[in-house]
Amino acid sequence: MSDQALTVEIDADGIALATIDLKGQSMNVWNEALLKEFAAFVDRLCEDDAIKGAVITSGKASGFLAGADLRMLGSGGVGGGASTPKETFDRLFNLNAMLRKLETSGKPAKKLISGEASAKPVAAAVNGLALGGGLELVLACHYRVCADDPKIQLGVPEVKVGLLPGGGGTQRLPRLAGLQNAALIATQGNPIDPATAKGFGVIQEIAPAGEIVTKAKAWVKANPKAAQPWDRQGFKYPGGSGPTHPAALQFHMASNAMAQRETQHNYPAVQYILSCIYEGSVVPFDTAIRIESKYFGKLLMSPQARNMIRTLFINKQAAEKGEQRPKSVEKSKIKKVGVLGAGMMGAGIAYVTAKGGMDVVLLDRDLKYAEKGKAYSAGIVGKGVARGKVSKEKGDELLARIKPTTDYNDLKDVDMIIEAVFEDPDIKADVIRKTEAVIGDKIIFASNTSTLPISGLAKNSERPEQFIGVHFFSPVDKMPLVEIIPGDKSGDRALAAALDYVGMIKKTPIVVKDTRGFYTNRVVPPYLNEAMLMVKEGVSPALIENAAKMLGMPVGPLALVDETSLELGKRVMESTKKELGKDYKPSGVEDLFNVMVDKLGRLGRKSGGGFYDYPADGKKSLWKGVSDYFPLAKNQPSADEVKERILYAQLIPAAQCFADGIVSDPQSADLGAIFGWGFAPWTGGPMSYIDTIGIDAFVRKAESLAQKYGARFNPPQKFRDMAERKETLYKAA
């Protein structure tokens, strides 16, 4: 047996210790080599009389097994390459068949159930994280011992990239933990810790890491005749199962509705997981895993999982690892960061920087403000401690790293500056000069701004090659994206440092061109305008908000306008108008702003009301008075029409940004959209969406919308050209 991935040692008791250890990889995953070697091992276990049982463990300190290699799935290696449903099924069923053989020793279920036959005992010694196909391997073992480290993650996260646990996870989990627990674990995809897993029956024993193999072997030795609970007489699901069992019936009804609420019908994987759990619960195990593999195949044959894997997993990781970083520059050593300005943005930046392990000098004009900025971190830490998410010590350590000050001299030994003072060119200029006077001459100065051109700000710098823009989103501790904006003189070292810093605070960076609004703020205003235009036209606000949610937006656009305030929207519109002069095209919502802001003072949530009312004692509700000014149209559009307008109001400006080189690649456009403004994640991003329907179809749809609603929907010329040449945005789409 080759040992690229698996080594097998047989001890004096005839117990085979199979250690998974992928050569040259930092983490064990199911790849071609392991699949092949493990299948050979299972065959040997079944056939070799000298082997009495087996223990499966990992040779890696990094964990047990992290699941399938998503690159293999994402590139179509497992499902996508096959052409017919049958071929796809045959390939996908291999893993299920192998794991089934592991737990039955290849004996028919009927004989196991009747007691005529038994399986050779197999135990798992779980030394670290077991996710996806890793946990599914564990579940196929009769006995499961886990190391006593509460940080060990056990889970099936497939749903997060639009897939389902296709190695028996949807069948063994409910048979061990009950329908409801299994559905929770599999449809949400969040890992559980060993103690919780033990409570669910997912593992049976927790032991010190050094003893797990011994404990597993002891169990194997003591239990020569094994069978899984579902291969025994009289097996019943914990908590019941089936369409007429009262508790199961209630569970299925509620979980179906709750899943529809969460997914808005955009994530078939969630439904398929529930279908696997339901359909599998009324048939024998061998039928159940066939059903699971078929639903898995159905997912792999659709483009959604590919899009989600590509953007949410592969490209996100690549961006976070510094894909766009100039390779020639040495990795920056950032231990101490000066954060200038302790307002809402500065306070948030100070928190994430300290959380990323760096010391922070938090400077403001007035110590009172600087301390208030630090208090923001104390608030977050306090909540975390109260909820048991952070230990008191860790929280205190984090807070101790933030030093509030008013003294520029405290900046003299920082490794990097993040400036987040008020968005006023004069104030920024003053702060830049004062800071550069004290910091080291090699120190990178990053300016957080959402509206001011970086090249303009850099003119205030003595060292424009060390000056760069970073655009954080509010609230900083929650929003995952950072736009990095090199000015026309920014050097490679500045770009590298900015990316290194974003990596340290574990956010997702995209590099964008220095232009008004950068990327995200060139797309969001037209999107919100479209919603307000619909209000003006008399489209029911409820329909607009619900349609956006159905499209997969996290909140409705009118709610978002209320959050960011109509006043700000009006101000941005006016400043854009001033900047563009005669090139400015009226957005069409000027009169709506006039009514809402000037006439009614309905500025948004903070002023107590905007498109919504915000009663102190209840949930917000849409303000009915809007129809006094913009009466509801007699004939309302369909939800699909509204969804389409909301979608294309984002696709068109995003495509324009790509066409104009504001984002240089489809990856960044997709990442920025999903993590910047919450663009429907099920699409994989706007560029993935366009690729999936085809650029040609996108162009034609945009043109028809332009005819109906106005020139703002016209597709960028570049996309017309690409459609003409039958190109795709992603190379291997």
């Binding site: 369409p243 009804m253 509705a257 529809q260 969460e262 339901y278 409820a542 619900n546």
Partner: protein, 402 residues
């Protein structure tokens, strides 16, 4: 085609559908048996002339399973040659059974039939038969399943009925039911239920509250708010009806149909057969219709079933003197009145299921009989009977006094 005539209609009183209800100790097959016996005995019927008996039953499992109709036919001592069939069209099962019985006569398959229904909700609880629709994710997702209470609240929200509107409707239902009992309007068709010793155990509908008022109803908490909000059903409904911002939960136990036990039967046949057997035709079946409607809002089917039945009869709404729509939920009736522009004085004139209860499989046949009696009492000519139905359907029948 042969015309189908109704010769007789009977029903049991409705007993509260709980373990302390008046009919709880009576088996469902007994309920069905006793209405069949009444049909035979009141008409001195030679049961060998009865070709077939169709009975609605919505939870046909356990003691209501295995074609309870045939069991009841045998148990009632009918001729062995009388066949039996169980019918399930959810809440309209009883009316559908009457329609099937009539259709057999019209089609010339049978000369004399019985349509009816039975449900002991206290003994075989609603939902006992499971079903794919709410449970199977593939189906529930595809069709946006929500429970009926959410649908009823959605109707109220979408069509603008307030809590006061539905409560006021409910108060009136109880008033009308009480008046009908007081004036003996149900006397003709009520068959008191007897126990195993042959003693009368229930002679009157059990759940009417003649004194209920807006204040009493106003104190009741909405029944479906938690279900809708905590378990996701409101969101599912709004995904189908995105023009609605949020669902106003107005229904509660006091303005929804009650859970009760009961049975009913209607004797149907051709004029010639009636004449031969000395049976007097009371009403003629003019037309019948069933139709599917949008399943999430679920309970708007009667509007479309009524229109279909009218069209098949070559009639318009103005040709109908009396309307009977099962009071599954108050909003269902209010929406029907709104959609067809029907005055409250012409519909459910003797009260309905909000006051007297809704024994699922039997109700359609019960309200059918109520209309036969009411046409005769009032001297009016035509009536349309309809019910809203689970999964989005409607069934309607138009009758004409002979």
């Amino acid at each position: 085609m042969t015309d189908a005539y109704v010769f007789d209609a009977v029903r049991t009183p409705r007993g509260k559908g709980k373990s302390d209800g008046g009919l709880h100790e009576i088996t469902p097959v007994q309920l069905a048996t006793q209405v069949l016996e009444a049909i035979r005995d009141r008409n001195a019927l030679d049961t060998s002339k009865v070709d077939d008996v169709a009975m609605g039953v919505v939870s046909p499992v356990g003691e209501q399973g295995a074609v309870i109709t045939r069991t009841a036919v045998l148990n009632a001592g009918y001729a062995e040659t009388t066949a039996g069939i169980q019918v399930n069209r959810f809440c309209a099962s009883g009316l559908e059974a009457v329609n099937i019985a009539a259709a057999k006569v019209k089609a010339g398959e049978a000369d004399l039939t019985i349509g009816g229904g039975v449900e002991s909700m206290s003994r075989v609880p609603m939902g006992s038969d499971g079903g794919a629709w709410p449970v199977d994710p593939a189906v529930a997702f595809r069709t946006y399943f929500v429970p009926q209470g959410i649908s009823a609240d959605l109707i109220a929200t979408k069509y603008g009925f307030s809590r006061d509107d539905v409560d006021a409707y409910s108060v009136e239902s109880h008033k009308r039911a009480a008046r009908s009992w007081k004036e003996g309007r149900f006397k003709k068709s009520i068959v008191p239920v007897k126990d195993v010793m042959g003693a009368e155990i229930l002679a009157k509908d059990e759940t009417i509250r003649p004194d209920t008022d807006m204040q009493a109803l106003g104190a009741l908490a909405p029944s479906f708010a938690m279900l809708g909000e905590n378990f996701g059903f409101n969101s599912v409904a709004l995904q189908k009806y995105p023009e609605v911002e949020k669902i106003n939960h107005v229904h509660h136990a006091g303005n929804s149909s009650g859970i009760v036990d009961g049975a009913a039967a209607v004797l149907i046949g051709s004029k010639e057969t009636g004449a031969k057997l000395g049976l007097k035709p009371r009403v003629r079946i003019v037309s019948m219709a069933s139709v599917g409607a949008e399943p999430t809002i679920m309970l708007t089917g009667p509007e479309f079933a009524a229109q279909k039945a009218l069209k098949r009869a070559g009639m318009t709404k103005d040709d109908i003197d009396l309307w009977e729509l099962n009071e599954a939920f108050a909003s269902v009736v209010l929406r029907f009145m709104q959609a067809l522009d029907i005055d409250h004085s012409e519909i459910n004139v003797n009260g309905g299921a909000i006051a007297m209860g809704h024994p699922l499989g039997a109700t359609g046949a019960m309200v059918f009989g109520t209309m036969v009696d009411e046409l005769e009492r009032s001297g009016k000519s035509t009536a349309l009977i309809t019910l809203c139905i689970g999964a989005g359907m409607g069934t309607a029948t138009i009758i004409e006094r002979v």
